[in-house]
Subunit: 279 residues, 4 copies
């Protein structure tokens, strides 16, 4: 007996759940967990089912092929024990990288870190320490080369998810389009407040009493991607920008880790410019 996760989305219509669960029941698969949501704005239906059975992903895909086709479904079956392969990008700040590595090591994040890429050396030590490959990228002027290198890495390493863990370079719309739905970013503000550069300085200047971080899918439109999760922390008048950055480090790593966990557990769906998150 193995555990599987079935995720699907399709235009909403009657009979979806029955069609799927009927097929699973015929094989005496046991559904242990399920969530679904019908989005009024987009008319899309989203479902996540956890089930146990003596089978394989490929066989379940086959089993459901006709149903998926009939309902025009995007349907995926994953081994619940399978670990998505991730590529972590960072620039100078390493707190998110360190945290992701640690959470992976203690089994809190069930993923394989297939590589780390950066235009700085800050993360190198941590990569080596964890036995991970560190790919060096060029600076702003090397964008074309960088993205070619990343494309090759993603293909070669069969990357499921690219995590921008404080990667400070803007990706080209073309690159983003090629890997649509597979790149996430941690923005160091409570979006849509303080888009763009130096959000902590902006927040400090505005005199807010709470700061935050936002994990979101990366789209061509900077800081406008679908939000996965957000975190906040109170701040006080006697804190300077450096204190905001210090407090924010914690919020960022926690918020990014939560987003990564949700994604590795296949709990996140794109729904137009928003997300459906089954927690």
């Amino acid at each position: 007996m193995k555990s599987f996760i079935l995720t699907l989305s399709c235009p909403d219509q009657p009979g979806i759940v029955a069609a799927i669960t009927q097929k699973l029941a015929e094989q005496t698969f046991n559904i242990v967990d399920s969530q679904q949501y019908s989005a009024p704005e987009t008319g899309q239906y989203f479902m996540r089912i956890g089930f146990d059975g003596d089978t394989t992903c490929a066989r379940v895909q086959d089993l459901l092929a006709d149903t998926a086709s009939h309902f025009d479904m995007t349907l995926q079956v994953d081994d619940a024990a399978a670990r998505p392969r991730v590529l972590i990008l960072l620039s100078k700040f390493d707190h998110c990288l360190i945290d992701l590595i640690y959470r992976q090591q203690v089994g809190s994040l069930k993923m394989e870190i297939a590589g780390i890429a950066s235009n700085h050396e800050t993360g190198l030590h941590w990569a080596e320490d964890a036995g991970l490959t560190y790919h060096t990228l060029g600076g702003r002027e090397a964008k074309v080369d960088n993205e070619a290198k990343l494309d090759a890495l993603i293909a070669h390493e069969k990357i499921d998810m690219v995590i921008l863990a404080r990667y400070m370079q803007v990706l080209t719309p073309e690159f983003v389009a090629r890997h649509s739905g597979r790149i996430i970013n941690i923005h160091h503000s409570f979006l849509p407040s303080f888009k763009g550069a130096e959000p902590y300085s902006q927040a400090h200047k505005r005199g807010v009493k709470i700061i935050g971080a936002t994990a979101h899918f990366v789209t061509a439109d900077l800081d406008e991607g679908p939000i996965i999760t957000q975190g906040v922390e109170p701040v006080r008048h006697d804190m300077d920008v450096a204190s905001f950055i210090d407090v924010g480090r914690d919020t960022e790593r926690r918020t990014l880790a939560r987003a990564v966990r949700l994604l590795t557990e296949r709990r996140v769906f794109l729904n137009g410019n928003k997300t459906v998150v089954f927690e």
Copy 2:
């Protein structure tokens, strides 16, 4: 087309979801929302399904009768628009009562307040103001009479849920047993810390830095009932017990309101001495 909520629990086994959803699909009912959980400790399976259809609760109950019997289910079908009838009990403190009334009035809590009962007069004004019947109870020495009066009220008013909104009298085990799973309480501490009397004084004495409130089902074992939801609030060294009580008032009413909302939406299941809450 009307909306319904189907809730069920039964011993876990393969085929439950398929059996149920198949029946719903045959009638072209449309499932809009569903959650389920299989509890390892008790071996119980819990499911909540929201669906739309041109039918009635009774007809759905009939439709599923054989399945329910086959799987040994406790199964209930409710009109999603139906409003549970509640009886609110309080003693001297009226903040939870006022909040429940207001939330009911603005449509935040979808319930009918079928009556208010108290051994104090504090709530009378608010009851009258809202056009609600106020039943006067006796003090500690009148426990037998009080509970007889409450039994009659519950029967006569077809009460679905009794809310102890800071009712400071201990109910007898017999009364609790008669209305098992239908009485909830707000305890003014973060249980299991500070059971019993004057939890804010206890918390102040211990020097905690966070206080809380706990909404739970009432069982014969005082302050030991299954927890539905909890709320917390930070406190500081320069706050006295009165300040704890003041801050706590907010936490209590918010935590109780959240529990009542979860219950009116049929999101809460008893699972041994714990609860399953589908949020």
Copy 3:
């Protein structure tokens, strides 16, 4: 023996604390609580001292007059038991009004509600119920008359603080200037996100995962006033705008009440376009 609160601000320079506390010590006043802050951006110094003594506000003002003049201080002495007189403005939504009245009644907010003014009738019942005077304002077209009426009220009732408790009319820059530092507003978003109209709709459309409320001083520049305090609440993909509004109601009233408490306790200072809050 009575309790007093001394608040002051002035250009930062050595000797301020000593000068003040020396004068208080000479009278054998006992300092029970004090906080101070020197703001690097503005060069301003802020201090709040709670002390006990057998004296009067006027006598302390006299006692400190030379010091205040020497250091170019804005200095105020208040009887700690004195209750600021507030005027509450609202439009259609009454949840903040009801909450402010209740908190005043149970002693949680130490203020006198000197009047309520509104361009709607929603709050009338609550005002009458609490024995408070309800002043009816005209709509958008009557702005000149409304503000004249408010000016008269503020003067006649010796209003210390005007609370916009979901008052949906924009005040003129002239009115705001006349009562600078004495008008606060609750904005139903986590500013600076979602300025302007219908912030919950904006938040819903953007797909944020946390919503908020912001209590701030009102300035001529709409939604740009100095922030006093902010509150947040998580939201989910399956909540519609109405649910955001429902959840937000709670956050708004809690955030506004916190701001009012801070102000009635003289814990808030204006520091350029920001605030210093001694909590």
Copy 4:
């Protein structure tokens, strides 16, 4: 010009602030930050003053010696830039250790890690990696030797604070007494709930909806020491004990780091079995 932190406690009486600040003013020291609190239960007065001046700690101690003696003060002057020397103890779980090291390295926690001691090898790698000395302790049976070794270390390394970062051995009352007020612990529950062993299992069994962590001073009475700060995190019915532990790891390291920061900034005072924390 250097920055200093003056902390003191003494029996409450009039004139304390004036006496101290007068002395500071005579030297044209500039007070930039100050907080004070008079505790009604113990009659003790607590003060923390941050000031700038062209002087040394010893000279300020001298300057205030008479005043300190007159008011029976426990008074300490620290260079604001001085970094307390800490000794970190752990057993098997290394998440708090790693976090403390990282926060120290990025400058978030201003302390010197003078050594790490453990009865397990888990932390060894991290110590070596950070260039820190790792002292190996024996197991339960070697308590006498362990404490002798720790006593020597504390003396030799001039340790200001011992941090039990998930050290699972109970210290003897004698050891605790010898280092009273200088040992802090992170307990992995929201005290006073779930004292003793395996608090996450206890919490899971009780079915709580929020778990927590508590940083407290260590006293002879286990899990009863004065609480410095507490942190909480929501949990759900579908989380097992391992998930509680996983979520808790985050709460523990964050709560411990907050306590350590408060202590390194001299913001924490013992007040009987409670703490005064100037945040």
